[in-house]
């Protein structure tokens, strides 16, 4: 029979349409919210969902896994007096590892002696070249550059980010990637403890 395929296809849409209302009512009956809540978004993103599964973007966002990466940012430690201390030492490993070569670093120098100081004076990343590969974050030996979850960065001009725009506090990093942050903190503490033990050992050695 002609047109059977069309009817079959339309019935799928028809079923989805009614499933949406059935789901909405059953969620409302059980007192849960299907829209604009984490539970609701998770359900609608899962394979068990029936009916509509649109994530209504500006109002609600798809829940991304921790390892989701968009653009890089620089981590800074918040000092007690409110000063920002970037973890970056301007070693330039990230800019060498960067495949599309979109990182530009200027190392600061001592104003008196002119010797290089291990902090960045300028740090630029051309976000319109960045390909979100995450190599900079992988190669950084100081955990200073990390990949962000924030993707709402489109603008009317070229997105070249300077140091001011790139710097984000360590607390933000802990919030975005809690598992990674805790792992790194533990590793750092273990390293410091080992160093202290070794220092104690060498201090004790001459007397023995």
């Amino acid at each position: 029979m002609y047109g059977l395929g069309i009817l079959k296809g339309l019935s799928v849409t028809w079923k989805r349409f009614w499933d949406t209302y059935i789901d909405d009512i059953s969620w409302a009956m059980s007192g849960r919210k299907r829209y604009h809540t984490e539970e609701g978004i998770r359900h609608r993103s899962s394979k068990n969902t029936k009916g509509i599964f649109t994530v209504q973007y500006p109002e609600e966002q798809l829940i991304v896994p921790e390892e989701f990466r968009f653009i890089p940012f620089l981590v800074y430690e918040e000092q007690a007096d409110g000063k920002k201390e970037p973890r970056c030492t301007a070693c330039g490993i990230c800019s060498k590892a960067c495949p599309p070569q979109c990182i530009w670093i200027v190392r600061s120098s001592d104003s008196v002696t002119g010797k290089p100081v291990s902090t960045p004076a300028e740090f630029y990343i051309d976000m319109d070249i960045c390909m979100n590969c995450g190599f900079c974050a992988e190669y950084c030996p100081f955990d200073a550059i990390k990949m962000d979850h924030d993707f709402d960065i489109a603008s009317q001009g070229r997105n070249v980010y300077n140091l001011e725009k790139l710097l984000k506090p360590a607390s933000y990093y802990a919030e975005v990637r809690p598992l990674n942050y805790n792992q790194e903190e533990e590793a750092r503490k273990a390293k410091e403890a080992a160093k202290a033990a070794r220092a104690a050992g060498t201090a004790a050695a001459p007397t023995a």
């Binding site: 599964f53 649109t54 994530v55 973007y57 590969c133 709402d152 489109a154 997105n159």
Partner: protein, 214 residues
């Protein structure tokens, strides 16, 4: 934009007339009409196009912004979504399509390649950013931008349309005659000159012979 924002009168309407009368500016009405029916031109260049397609599916549903009607002809399109790597071979076609689009027209550079050349920015065959040839309105970073990032960029475009004024937009500017026409890229400096292909092949063949004999 909802009705409250559309009729933001600077005039005092008497209270008993407020449900009957709405005062707005021509600009606001004009922009309101256009912002919610931005029809993209249907073409995809590279991997960004896959994300563009994903943004049109039920999960993200660009139809919520009135952008679901992908027109396969430039005559009916309002927005050119340059989704992907623009090669030098493709560039004349894109510029021609842009010239064929009726005003008002917008260009959105989606992804790293279209906005700045991306990893191919110093390549021999890729245009390092479509903004060298076309007036880009919105740059969306990402490689590729996720569908949500694309929608975020589209919202930025709507915000830009909201702020436009009929008096100032470039397509109604009488002083700039043909102000919207983008000259076609020239063979040679802008593009690969295919007429020189035989010559280049000769040179490389001679170099190979010299290398063998050495």
């Amino acid at each position: 934009m909802d009705n409250e924002k559309l009729s933001l009168p600077n005039y005092d309407i008497p209270e008993d007339m407020q449900d009957v009368v709405a005062i707005t500016t021509l600009d606001r009405l004009y922009n309101w009409g256009r912002r919610s029916s931005v029809w993209p031109l249907m073409f995809g260049l590279a991997c960004c196009a896959i994300e563009m397609i994903a943004a049109q599916t039920a999960r993200y549903d660009m139809a919520r912004f009135g952008m679901e009607v992908m027109r396969p002809t430039p005559r009916q399109a309002d927005m050119m979504l340059v989704s992907g790597t623009v090669t030098k071979k493709m560039l004349p076609v894109i510029v021609r399509l842009y010239n064929q689009m009726p005003e008002p027209k917008y260009v959105v550079a989606m992804g790293a390649c279209a906005s700045g050349g991306g990893p191919f920015k110093e390549g021999y065959n890729v245009v390092a950013g479509i903004d060298k040839f076309l007036p880009v309105d919105i740059y969306i970073p990402g490689c590729p931008p996720t569908p949500q990032a694309l929608i975020a960029g589209m919202i930025k475009l709507q915000e830009k349309i909201d702020k436009e004024s009929i008096k100032k937009v470039r397509w109604y500017n009488k002083e700039k005659k043909d102000g919207n026409y983008v000259p076609m890229p020239i063979l040679g400096p802008d593009l690969i000159d295919v007429r020189r292909n035989a010559e280049i092949r000769d040179i490389s063949a001679k170099a190979a012979v010299l290398k063998e004999s050495a």
